[in-house]
């Protein structure tokens, strides 16, 4: 099953390599990984999406917790949560394609953030499957370049992951 694991990490050099190293060392899978400092500059927030059996996921959370620099973590997929990913996508846009792309971007509530005579650069945020859906709708033949940020997530409601 796909899981979104959110981690508060000491903001120290080397901490990220321990997390990444753990995944490769133990043969766990990383689908996406995002990391950035938080409002408390001593902490980073890391979000990793992964897949695996229940046993593997249990091991992943336990092994992550064992890393000395991991302060706290939560498996967001265990409760209601919001997930978002940002995509920047460069599309071939000439002639009649331009109107068609514009319509699709509107349907997906994206924005065209840069324009040339032959190219649109589109920004789109949403759950990963929505981004997949957009690429599918556009058709891969028109796609020049795709950048995705990886998933960020947060629990719904009162629940917070903090010290």
């Amino acid at each position: 099953m796909r899981r979104i694991i959110s981690v508060l990490l000491e903001n120290e050099s080397g901490a990220l390599s321990r997390v990444v190293g753990l995944f490769s060392q133990r043969n766990y899978n990383i689908e996406t990984l995002t990391v950035a400092p938080t409002e408390d500059e001593t902490l980073s927030r890391l979000t990793v999406t992964t897949t695996g059996s229940d046993r593997v996921i249990e091991q992943i959370t336990k092994q992550l917790n064992k890393l000395v620099e991991v302060v706290k973590l939560v498996d967001l997929t265990e409760g209601p949560h919001i997930e978002r990913e940002l995509m920047l996508i460069k599309l071939k846009a000439t002639g009649s394609q331009r109107a068609e792309i514009k319509r699709t971007v509107d349907i997906f509530r994206g924005q065209i953030v840069d324009v040339t005579s032959s190219v649109y650069t589109v920004q789109l945020a949403g759950a990963s499957d929505k981004l997949d859906g957009f690429v599918q709708a556009i058709g891969t033949s028109g796609v020049l370049e795709v950048v995705r940020s990886g998933v960020s997530g947060i629990a719904r409601g009162e629940k917070v992951l903090s010290l």
Binding site: E10, G14, S17, R18, G21, Q25, R55, E58, Q59, K62, Q63, N65, K66, V68, E69, V70, V71, L163
Partner: protein, 572 residues
Amino acid sequence: MELLSGADMLIRSLQDQGIEYIYGYPGGAALHIYDALFRQDEVKHILVRHEQAAVHMADGYARATGLPGTVLVTSGPGATNTITGIATAFMDSIPMVVLCGQVASTLIGEDAFQETDMMGVSRPVVKHNLSVRHPSEIPEIIRKAYYIASTGRPGPVVVDIPKDMTAPNERFEYAYPKKIKLRSYSPAIRGHAGQIKKAVDMMLAARRPIIYAGGGVILGKASGQLTELVRKLGYPITNTLMGIGCYPASDKQHLGWLGMHGTYEANMAMHHSDLILAVGARFDDRVTNATEKFCPGARIIHIDIDPASISKTIDADVPIVGPVDAVLKEMLALVKDSKEKPDAEALASWWKQIDEWRAFHGMRYETSPDVIKPQEVIEMLHRLTNGDAFVTSDVGQHQMFAAQYYKFDKPNRWINSGGLGTMGFGLPAAMGIKLTHPDDEVLCITGEGSIQMNIQELSTCNQYKLPVKIINLNNQALGMVKQWQDMNYESRHSHSYMESLPDFIKLAEAYGHVGVRIDKKEDLEPKLKEVLAMKDTLVFVDIQVDRFEHVYPMQVARGCMKDMWLSKTERV
């Protein structure tokens, strides 16, 4: 406050940490530190002949005393030479701090002379590693390193120290932190009371219970609590290779150790049990055999300080995360207070069954009128040392024979590389023990293959007068490899022969020691007695043993606990 250079702060921190011995080898990036060492005499430094040996020495010391060992090496090759030792300690959860020199921080990343990314190289085999970014951080980093290495599930911690951090002309205020607290690291201090209660109820209701104890009992200094609980319950106990000595082997309730080369009765009892109390053990593949066939009728209670060890390979019905000593103590109190008692009738018939298994096989081997059997050497050593020696081993058949036939009644006396299986471990580990236990007998049981992996340490033994006894069970082969080739590759002995072996007697003498060769069965006892009487001498005893012996019992690969070879021809 005193002003000290980084190097002096480092040594002062070791003094304030109570470190008596460090083992190491100097080089460019560590020279400021070596100079600081020279200018004091509280912390004693032992100069090895290869950095791997320094780590095994620290490791042997740690296993025998329960205290963290300390290593000091230079950058680059000095640091990389420690990796096998660090990985050995990591696999067996041994507390240790490895101080590594590093090129100056201004040179890092430039492929400077003797620069290796030791933080990166060591990362997968350490509990944690720390790098010094300012000299003033040194006392706190050292405090942290020992704290992390020796609490929770212990393990090695590497400290990377760029040369400019120890420069003699820059001085900073020195204060050694008394306490350390890390918001991201807090090992459990007791088990969950509800889980413990539930476990005790299950234990008292069991009909075919067994206790399965591991190295965690020894690391957690819980042998006393374990022994008391097991005696109170009257249940059978087995332990892992790493748990040897956690419960007296001579006691009737002890079934010997379990797993790949464990006893018939221990493996049978595990397989047929209805309840397993696992204490500080990790259901390693050398214990469980095929996990899907593991102990089909058993419910499992698992106590461990490391939550990640629980339900990793075998699901636990009742997980208990906590220090084993505290949890066992609580269990014992509950057992004593409980109105429920173990079902005497069920227990009696369980013991009757176990005694039948014991009678069927037990530990046995065939003797020969003229060839020396490796097993009989071990049995004799056990007798001649009253079962009270510290015994280190290398890796191979001799290791298994030592573990099977030397019956340990005390913890911290059987010292071997169980997790990583590192050939070359035995001699330096024995040296680390002898140094701090000069009045105890320290035996290194080894093979002619393994001993050559750190043979250069005979020189260190001469320098520091370390009269360990090296018992070389010389079968003229990489015996364990050969055994597998006999069993799985139709005896095609691909590279398992040791041709052109050195004359070990001359070799020992060249290093300033005594060598004794034993090749006749009738000489075995008198010569071993002579050797053991030479209290202040390192003796290298080269014993020509049966070249064709195999280690049994041996579990059948991919079978269940009870599928075993009992000899070359008997399979159950």
